[in-house]
């Protein structure tokens, strides 16, 4: 802890106001708008200086402006409020500035995706595929593919993930449980492209080289999704209080019925939320699908036969190999990005609403 300043005795004879304001305090207080003023002033000075030197860019103004603002608030506060308060102000400003710097790209990203994506959105985008169309067509095949591939992945991952979480939380003891906890950790760290290679290698063994199928993508995505589902499910199972299980046992209920009728219903909202968030995490995967489901222009809804397009790969492809009308291709890439982001956001928001609305109140 910070030791009291040496001049505490001197201060104790000072004004009550200074005492109330705290140790090491000079008694004064900066006005509430001081941090804003310091920040704006610093930016203005840096901007002008850079303009004078001929380097002016917004980025540079911010890069130099932030440290100057931090110094300025410190220099301003120190004589009025004392060294400790001044340092507090400087650090606070630094944190706020860093927060601003962090949020700027994320906001820019959302803004650009919406602005550019809207240009490519059209009725055709959602309703037709790109078969035999040169430099045009829509993304219906990619949307269908995304839904089919993701649905298959979820159908594989959810039962396995939830049952494994039940094992870990309700049954597991000893080495298998420990191993599982450890390997789920390992699995969380598998890079998505590696998951894709795994699915490819698995199917190549049976079907020969060059194999591409929707279900391969689903399996690759399952490798990524299962650990997320387990983690989420484990988390919500853990917070089901032990006394509810005991209440059920005390009624003479077997363990499995206790799990099915008491534990799972109590955790239900959390499980649904976890599954939706896990789905949102994998629905936009590109890399594992690039190597497993391939690229195709026409609609294919059968995951067990032939190549299957998906939105992320579609966006990548429209960018990477644009047609004759470059801009139209880019627009479609952004439209696909916007569609993806919308799906992800909607899934996330619904997941959270479900949780808020239906979560079991446990005292």
């Amino acid at each position: 802890m910070t030791p009291p300043p040496a001049d505490a005795a001197v201060l104790s004879t000072g004004s009550t106001r200074a005492l109330l304001a705290g140790e090491g305090h000079r008694g004064g207080t900066l006005p509430g708008w001081a941090p804003w003023a310091a920040f704006a002033g610093a930016l203005a000075v840096c901007g002008l200086l850079e303009a004078a030197l001929g380097w002016f860019t917004i980025a540079l103004m911010l890069v130099f402006g932030a440290p100057v603002a931090i110094l300025a608030i410190y220099a301003w506060s120190r004589p009025v409020e004392g060294a400790r308060r001044a340092k507090d102000r400087a650090v606070t400003m630094a944190i706020v500035a860093a927060f601003g710097v962090s949020m700027a790209p994320l906001i820019s990203l959302l803004y650009e995706v919406i602005k550019r994506g809207v240009a490519g959105i059209s009725w055709e985008f959602f309703t037709s595929d790109a078969r035999g169309v040169v430099g045009g067509g829509g993304a219906a095949h990619a949307i269908v593919g995304t839904l089919v591939i993701t649905a298959c992945a979820a159908a594989i991952s959810v039962p396995i993930g939830i049952m494994a979480a039940i094992y870990m939380n309700e049954y597991g003891r000893g080495p298998l449980r420990r191993a599982l906890t450890f390997f789920v950790d390992v699995m969380t760290g598998i890079p998505s492209i590696v998951a894709g290679l795994f699915a490819y290698a698995l199917f190549e063994l049976f079907f020969g080289p060059g194999i591409r199928m929707g279900i391969m993508g689903s399996i690759a995505l399952s490798v990524l999704m299962i650990p997320i589902v387990i983690r989420a499910a484990e988390e919500v199972l853990k917070i089901v209080p032990q006394h509810l299980r005991e209440a059920s046992y005390a009624l003479g209920t077997p363990k499995w019925k206790t799990i099915v009728k008491v534990v799972l219903p109590t955790a239900f909202a959390g499980l649904v939320t976890g599954v939706m968030i896990a789905t949102a995490r994998i629905i936009g995967e590109t890399a594992p699908l690039l190597v497993t489901t391939g690229v195709v222009d026409s609609l294919n809804a059968n995951p067990f036969q032939g190549r299957m397009q998906n939105l992320a790969v579609y966006a990548y492809n429209e960018y990477r190999s644009p047609g004759v009308m470059k801009q139209a291709s880019y627009d479609r890439a952004w439209a696909a990005a916007l569609t993806l982001i919308a799906i992800v956001m909607i899934l996330n928001v619904i997941a959270r609403l479900v949780y808020r609305r239906y979560k079991t109140e446990i005292r």
């Binding site: 005991e246 209440a247 005390a250």
Partner: protein, 307 residues
């Protein structure tokens, strides 16, 4: 062999499932459900004789830790037996061993035998699930199932265990249990509402109704009033007085007045020092334990000189 005997009886006389049903049916006869009945339902069932629980040289462990040492006691039928003693003396642990809840704690183990009308509940071939069916439990914190309505909470034991049960029968059992728990009049208009919306005292009575709905022989109560206010506590104590007409009751309590008010017999548990196992000091009619106990320890405790 105890288990052998159990299986023989089982094989020769009955099919799985039917026996439990029968137990319930006899219960229903004992307490007929009538909307107009102004009499408390417990009184109507006064003919029933519940079962005796007998602990013989019971030793309880958590891993290597010896928690309870060598308890011999009888919990008499249709009476309330209070278990008192200072914190950590093993009375709750002992209570949980009576319906085999103790073994749910990882590493916990039991030595000795506990007999329900002479049948060892720890005997070979006895399913702990079946034991808990016969020896119900009410917990310290009211713990209605948060996802279920009041009705479903009471019917939970039936839904979880019985096969198909007629809706009318279920309704009857729910109503009888709620009446028996002195809760019917307060909740009859909102049976479909969540059980967690009730007050603490009501929730605890709901839990008692839930426990009695499966017609156990014995009811164990682990400090059922410790989370409740004085008014709710009195209501539960009244209820316990009614319930003993149908069930054998053992109740752990920290509250000496409660033991004095609500119990017929009192068992005093103690431990010599922290880390040593708890043991039963003495058991006897409550009157005696509180006025002229045989042991000095007991006298010190009940007169409030320590603990």
């Amino acid at each position: 062999m105890e288990g052998r005997k159990l299986r023989d009886m089982f094989g020769s006389e009955s099919k799985p499932g039917t026996e439990a049903e029968e137990g319930r049916n006899t219960m229903s006869q004992a307490g007929p459900v009538t909307e107009t009945s102004s009499q408390p339902q417990g009184a109507a069932a006064s003919a029933r004789r519940a079962k005796t629980l007998e602990a013989k040289e019971v030793n309880l462990y958590y891993g290597d830790f010896h928690a309870v040492e060598n308890v011999n006691m009888t919990i008499e039928p249709n009476k309330v037996t209070a278990l008192i003693g200072s914190s950590g003396c093993g009375k709750t642990t002992f209570l949980r061993s009576l319906n085999r809840m103790h073994e749910l704690t990882p590493g916990a183990s039991v030595k000795g035998s506990i007999q329900l009308d002479g049948e060892d509940v720890y005997g070979a071939g006895v399913d702990p699930v079946a034991v808990r069916r016969l020896v119900g439990m009410v917990f310290q914190q009211p713990n209605p199932f948060p996802t279920m309505s009041i009705y479903d909470n009471v019917a939970a034991g039936l839904d979880f265990n019985a096969g198909k049960i007629r809706k009318a029968d279920k309704d009857a059992i729910v109503e009888r249990s709620l009446r028996g728990a002195h809760l019917w009049d307060e909740v009859k208009d909102r049976l479909g509402r969540p059980g967690s919306g009730l007050s603490g005292g009501q929730q605890q009575r709901l839990c008692i109704a839930r426990a009695t709905a499966v017609s156990p022989e014995v009811l164990l109560m682990d400090e059922p009033c410790s989370a409740l206010d004085p008014v709710a506590t009195l209501a539960i104590e009244d209820l316990i007085g009614e319930l003993k007409k149908e069930y054998t009751i053992a109740i752990v309590t920290h509250n000496m007045q409660q033991a004095a008010r609500a119990s017929d017999n009192t068992a005093f548990f103690n431990l010599d020092e922290s880390g040593k196992p708890g043991h039963l000091v003495e058991i006897g009619p409550t009157q005696e334990i509180f006025t002229k106990p045989k042991k000095k320890e007991t006298e010190d405790y009940v007169s409030g000189r320590f603990g």
